[in-house]
Amino acid sequence: GESVGLHLPTLSVQEGDNSIINCAYSNSASDYFIWYKQESGKGPQFIIDIRSNMDKRQGQRVTVLLNKTVKHLSLQIAATQPGDSAVYFCAENIGSGTYKYIFGTGTRLKVLA
């Protein structure tokens, strides 16, 4: 169920360190953004979302930052654990009556013990 990742950027992080995964989104009209985690053989799992009227949102061990000026989204994972190893996708929705999500390419996170 994962993107094979022949061309996926990879981030390798030492266990216990913080991870920052970046995403450049495509549409300046997008007003809702979501981060998904995809483990091998599984579907995308919702992590955290943020709306365009915010620039930061925190969850449990995760923080999403939104910079609309440069159309950039980031996911910060604190104290990265082996179970965080997966492919991470950002997705955007432009609202205005459209329900579809536009997904990014994905980043593979490898947590080193």
């Binding site: 169920g1 094979v4 990742g5 599984k42 579907g43 579809k100 997904f103």
Partner: protein
Amino acid sequence: EPEVTQTPSHQVTQMGQEVILRCVPISNHLYFYWYRQILGQKVEFLVSFYNNEISEKSEIFDDQFSVERPDGSNFTLKIRSTKLEDSAMYFCAGSQESNQPQHFGDGTRLSIL
């Protein structure tokens, strides 16, 4: 935690045959979606479905494809006369509202021979 369930996990079909991919969404979800992910590529939106009708579809979702919610619980994607390029992971998703996060199943891997 409630889950989106997809069956089968892997479907192998001869080119030209029809396939039906099945999904059981989370019970309190009202909006339903199909996405696909061709090997090594991004997750792509196919169609959204609400109130027993298609609310939006992508250019991929041509006359070869159809969706149905036959019994109020299952949500199906039918592909008529399959082609080699239909080989992909197909993900079902659902949400409570159109502006709420979409929750995905683990997908059906469709292999067309």
